[in-house]
């Protein structure tokens, strides 16, 4: 009984293995058949791609879609020699995918009994049936093509401006400067030169002063623009009263006057005379002339070496005079050299109990004086026999003229630089008997004027031949506040910025911090005042810090660190930027004649510069004959996939 069971189990296992072995042998399909199928499919795929790459459009001129395209003029006679793959690619990559698919369908359907698909860049142009097989053969072809309807040989042309007329903006800053003490006037003369061949469209003088007593008395004594009296034409936008240490009331005033008819091409002079009975009158940040004009220029490349002279305004203070000039040096400037030339007139040398007290102080980017002529670099109030209404009584000698020259190369920085010059005054203290002058007449006496001269080199020109610089200004707007932020966008066409400044307009001011920020980026400080009352009219912003979306923040702060509660930044602060526009267009479409190609290049150039308000005065063109330029699309990979129907 036990033997029988053992035998039955053995035989069952044996039979089972035998059955499995026999079935497996019968069911296993020889791999050779699959290989042959894959091989033949692969050959067929290659054949189809070769046919598409070889056959001309003319061979299929009677297929419905191509016939229709020929009839409506989309496909021209010269296109008929292009290949079918070129045609399909042209329509596919120009967005006419339906046309491309229809052409592929009409040409390829019934080409084979097998399933196949024409694809490019993982998109199916045409497929004869759905994918149902695990084994697919693929053949590839790389193609690029011409635009349908355009000749492939002929003439191309480029054009560039050699002379043009542009509309641009120039901003002439007045530096914060003073001062006219206790009833004596401050006289400031700004001399500047505009290009002689301009047409002025608009000139607006923004005035920012501290003067008078109450708001109702805020007025100029004189405002002469090229000799024309404009003091009664000022539109006051902002008036802010403040009481001084001795209870006197004075006013910070901001306004503007239209001087379009007073400013002229070439040399200009603006003279202003202001005063205050009890305090000292001076100019605040934001005093600037904005001139919008059109200018005819010859095309030229930018320079790599710069020598710029920044003239002081002629400041005639009574008593004491001061001025704070600002200038900039680009971020990547090298071999920088800077010198300061001062022509100070009617300086009164003072002594206090025989001590030679300081009468001239010069600050260069620092709270500590770069130069002072007496013993005390600070604490002027300690060197007075009596201090009355800000006047410091000292022993005075007769007035003299002082010419000073300094090499300030090692004091200047890349970015915004500020140089403050004080004569017979500092802060809220002044001394002297009569007027003191920071002399400048840049138009008639440039060498004897007071100035800062800066020279430097940059690695590559700011603009190349064919590039045109345009300057624009964006006003902050909004309400007067501290801090104040201004958000703005820079369009793609204006994105190549080479220079940018923030013009700060303030009533009362102390020290400022200017920063710029892009969304999701940290804030970058572009300027911080080194000491009290060092608020330049303009602050240079490195172009690399400007993006498509920007926010500028200006904060007026006290030296101890807190925000100044009433030192508002005014809405007439602005962002000035200079950007480049291409005054050149490259080779364009292919035309049958050089005349047509040139006309096309000229049209493209006029349209390109016209959108930026630039008018072509002289255009140079260059035309070349050409043949076989592949353009519009590609190179793109096309593939034919073939698989067996299941």
């Amino acid at each position: 009984m036990a033997k029988g069971i053992i035998f039955t189990t053995d035989i069952l296992i044996g039979i089972g293995l035998l059955v499995v072995f026999i079935l497996a042998s019968f069911l296993s399909k020889p791999e050779t058949s699959q290989e042959i199928s894959f091989q033949t499919n692969s050959i067929e795929a290659r054949d189809i791609i070769n046919v598409l790459s070889t056959l001309k459009i003319s061979s299929f001129s009677q297929t419905p879609t191509i016939k229709n395209l020929i009839e409506n003029g989309t496909i021209k006679q010269e296109d008929l020699n292009k290949t079918i793959l070129d045609l399909i690619g042209s329509f596919w990559y120009s967005g006419n995918k339906t046309i491309a698919s229809n052409i592929a369908k009409e040409i390829l359907e019934n080409i084979t009994k097998k399933c196949f698909s024409l694809q490019t860049e993982n998109e199916t142009i045409y497929s004869s049936c759905n994918f149902t097989s695990k084994t697919i053969s693929v053949a590839y072809a790389l193609a690029s093509g011409y635009e349908i309807g355009k000749p492939v040989s002929g003439y191309v042309a480029r054009a560039w401006l050699t002379k043009y007329r542009k509309n641009t903006t120039q901003i002439i800053p007045f530096y914060p400067e003073g001062s006219g003490w206790t009833g004596n006037p401050l006289e400031v003369t700004k001399s500047f030169s505009l290009p002689s061949n301009i047409t002025i469209y608009n000139a607006t003088l923004f005035v920012s002063v501290h003067f008078g007593t109450s708001k109702s008395q805020a007025e100029f004594q004189q405002l002469l623009v090229n000799g024309n009296q404009k003091k009664g034409n000022i539109v006051w936008l902002y008036l802010q009263e403040a009481s001084g240490s001795y209870g006197e009331v004075t006013t910070a005033a901001y306004g503007y006057v239209d001087v379009t008819n007073d400013i002229q091409p070439g040399n200009n002079t603006i003279y202003l005379k202001i005063g205050t009975p009890n305090y000292h009158s001076h100019l605040h940040p934001g005093f600037r002339l904005i001139v919008v004009y059109s200018l005819t220029q010859e095309m030229q490349a930018g320079s790599q070496t710069f020598k710029k002279r920044y003239y002081f305004d002629n400041v005639n203070g009574n008593t004491g005079a001061w001025s704070m000039l600002s200038f900039y040096i680009p971020e990547n400037a090298k071999n920088i050299n800077a010198k300061l030339h001062l022509n100070l007139k009617k300086v009164e040398d003072s002594t206090f109990f025989g001590i030679n007290t300081t009468d001239i102080k010069i600050y260069v980017n620092s709270k500590d004086p770069f130069y002072y002529d007496g013993v005390n670099k600070e604490n002027d109030e300690y060197y007075c026999s009596r201090l009355r209404n800000y006047y410091c009584y000292r022993t005075l000698s007769s007035a003299r003229d002082v010419i000073l020259d300094f090499d300030i190369t090692n004091k200047v920085v890349n970015g915004t630089n500020v140089i403050s010059v004080y004569v017979n005054s500092y802060g809220d203290i002044h001394w002297g008997d009569k007027e003191a002058i920071i002399y400048s007449d840049s138009l008639n006496d440039p060498e004897n004027s007071s100035y800062v001269e800066v020279s430097y080199e940059i690695d590559k020109p700011l603009f190349l031949y064919g590039e045109i610089d345009l300057t624009k200004e964006k006003m902050f707007g909004g309400e007067a506040s501290n801090p104040k932020t201004f958000s703005f966008n820079i369009s793609q066409s204006e994105s190549k910025i080479i220079e940018a400044f923030v013009h700060i307009a303030q009533g009362f001011s102390n020290m400022i911090n200017v920063s710029i920020q892009q969304p999701n980026s940290p804030k970058t400080t572009v300027f911080t005042s080194p000491s009290s009352r060092v608020v330049p009219e303009n602050v240079f912003v490195y172009p690399r810090l400007i993006g498509s979306q920007n926010t500028i923040e200006i904060v007026d702060f006290q030296s101890y660190g807190g925000i100044s509660p009433t030192n508002y930044i005014l809405p007439w602060s602005s962002f000035e930027y200079t950007y480049l526009v291409k005054g050149i267009v490259g080779y364009g479409s292919v035309f049958n004649s050089s005349e047509l190609a040139i006309q096309d290049a000229i049209n493209r150039l006029i349209q390109q510069v016209g959108s930026e308000g630039i008018a072509a005065e002289n255009i140079q063109t260059d035309t070349q004959s050409t043949q076989g330029i592949k353009w519009l699309w590609g190179p793109s990979l096309f593939k034919i996939l073939i698989w067996d129907k299941v």
Binding site: K3, G4, F7, I11, G14, I15, L18, F21, I22, S25, P30, T32, S33, E35, I36, Q39, T40, I43, E44, D47, I48, N50, V51, S53, T54, L55, K56, S58, S59, I107, N110, I111, T112, K113
Partner: protein, 165 residues
């Protein structure tokens, strides 16, 4: 007692179990033999088929290559090819007819194989065939259909390779 013992041993050797086991073993051996025979035959067939496919592809390739010389004639042809610039050159097709089937077979090294070509338009119309002879008794026929260009039109070239039965 001894006799009884001897009888008992003999009877156990020739039991039904023994016969059944022997039969199954024989059956298994026979099945394995036939199976191996079948598989070997199958492998041989696949090998032969594979060889035929290679001949078929080679024979069909003449419609897609230029041959040597590029523009050969009946006298100087070394390698036959009917194409130029990715299209069938009808002059070369005519030259192929001119040289005759035997020369073609020789150039293609067909050996025991035979070849036939049929060219169809996309709509299925036969426009060309070569050679015109065809044996009714053929075996091991393999077919490959390929696509190319004839007179600026898409055509299907059907290549048959076969052996005489």
């Amino acid at each position: 007692m001894l006799t009884v013992k001897f009888m008992l041993i003999k009877a156990q050797t020739l039991t039904y179990d023994f016969f059944i086991a022997t039969s199954l073993l024989l059956l298994l051996l026979i099945a394995t033999f036939f199976l191996f025979y079948y598989k070997i035959e199958n492998i041989e067939e696949e090998k032969e088929k594979s060889e035929m496919v290679n001949v078929l592809i080679y024979a069909s390739d003449i419609w897609f290559k230029e041959g040597y010389p590029k523009y050969w004639n009946v006298d100087n042809v070394i390698e036959i090819g009917l194409s130029n610039n990715n299209q069938i050159n009808t002059t070369k097709v005519r030259l192929m007819e001119e040289m005759g089937y035997q020369r073609l077979a020789s150039l293609l090294s067909l050996g025991t194989f035979n070849v036939n070509y049929f060219v169809y338009l996309q709509n299925g119309s036969l426009i060309y065939s070569f050679p015109s002879l065809f044996y009714e008794k053929a075996k091991n026929v393999v077919v490959l259909e390929r696509i190319t260009i004839w007179n600026n039109s898409v055509v299907k070239v059907r290549t048959l390779v076969w052996q005489k039965a």
